[in-house]
């Protein structure tokens, strides 16, 4: 299935683009998508996953405008929004 990834904050800056797409097998979860993204876009890896491969808890994750759990399954055509934490004042 095809998933769109939207990036905000420093993730967008590091990736150099705000929108990416991923191809994932049926039944894949949000966590699977983030791990795949980290393996394909190496510059993003350290911002997305810890050294042991778990997703960093400090990024906000939405699927189609709903805040979700990383273990939630994805549907074909979903858009995942990843927002890195920002604190500029």
């Amino acid at each position: 299935m095809k998933i769109t990834i939207e990036l905000w904050g420093q993730l967008k800056q590091v990736a150099g683009e705000s929108c990416l797409s991923l191809e994932l097998p049926e039944g894949a979860t949000v966590q699977d998508a983030i791990r795949l993204l980290a393996s394909q876009a190496v510059s993003l890896a350290s911002s997305l996953v810890e050294e042991d491969g778990t997703c960093r808890p400090s990024n906000l994750v939405f699927v189609n405008d709903h805040q979700i759990l990383l273990s939630d399954p994805l549907q074909d055509g979903n858009t995942i929004t990843l927002m890195s934490p920002i604190a500029g004042g």
Binding site: W8, G9, Q10, Q13, S46, S47, R56, P57, S58, L60, F62, D65, H66, Q67, T81, M83, S84, P85, I86, A87, G88, G89
Partner: protein
């Protein structure tokens, strides 16, 4: 949350006449603003214009917490700092500018940033808090105290051309630690910024504070408003409490 009202004098009625025409706000809303004390953590690119809007809207008292002295690199966005004040304390510069705008306003300038040591005391003096600090350690210290003392906190942040705002009502909405359970390692204190972008977040945060205190309209409680000034894309997404949050969880 209840905020106390303070009656207006004739000069104040004349000053705030046009905003008292706003439906559901009126003189009762203005009296609530006059009775309110706001704590603003840092009065830089975001907190500066925010303070200016609170001052012009008629808040009774503003406590500004901001350390350091005015530098050249502040002046592209920190609109309460002025060229002739270079090398002098930022909190004093901001207080001086707010008093020029509104001599009725009581301003307390604290030449310190929010820390674990002073957060309890400063939050304790305020009715509501505006979080505009550039470091998560300061934001987390304020969040913890606001939750503990059950004070609303308007959370506003920006990076590059983006901004985020949410209104935290302890016990009702997610707190900052629900959103970000750990100090984000990627965040750096210095970041790309245009003053106009931080001013967008400042104006929205000021309006949130006005609504929280006067009790009208719909706030960003439980919602995160995100904008990207590069594309002018504005998005408002619902956010959830974390039942395991170490700060506000059960």
């Amino acid at each position: 949350m209840e905020f106390k009202s303070t009656p207006l004098n004739p000069e104040e009625k004349a000053t705030y006449e046009w905003q008292m025409w706003v439906e559901d706000f009126g003189e009762a809303g203005q009296e609530k603003l006059k009775g309110a004390t706001a704590l603003v953590s840092r009065c830089g690119g975001l907190g500066g214009p925010l303070c200016y809007h609170l001052a012009s809207a008629g808040f009774g008292k503003i406590i500004i917490a901001h350390a350091g002295h005015v530098k050249h690199s502040d002046l592209n966005r920190q609109i309460l700092m002025t060229h002739d004040w270079l090398g002098k304390p930022r909190a004093e510069s901001a207080a001086r500018r707010l008093r020029e705008l509104n001599p009725r306003l009581e301003v307390e300038a604290v030449p310190e940033n929010i820390s674990e040591e002073n957060a309890a005391d400063l939050v304790g003096k305020a009715d509501l808090v505006f979080d505009c600090a550039p470091l998560f350690s300061e934001r987390f210290a304020m969040n913890r105290e606001c939750v503990r003392q059950s004070k609303p906190m308007i959370e506003a942040a920006m990076f590059d051309l983006e901004g985020q705002i949410t209104t935290i009502l302890p016990g009702e909405t997610p707190c900052l630690s629900c959103l970000y359970p750990a100090d984000p390692p990627q965040w750096k204190r210095e970041f790309p910024v245009f003053g106009a972008v931080s001013s967008i977040a400042a104006s929205i945060a000021a309006m949130e504070g006005i609504k929280v205190v006067s009790g009208f309209g719909e706030t960003l409680a439980g919602k995160l408003l995100c904008y990207d000034a590069r594309t002018m894309n504005f998005r408002r997404v619902p956010i959830k409490r974390n039942p395991e949050c170490p700060i506000c969880g059960n």
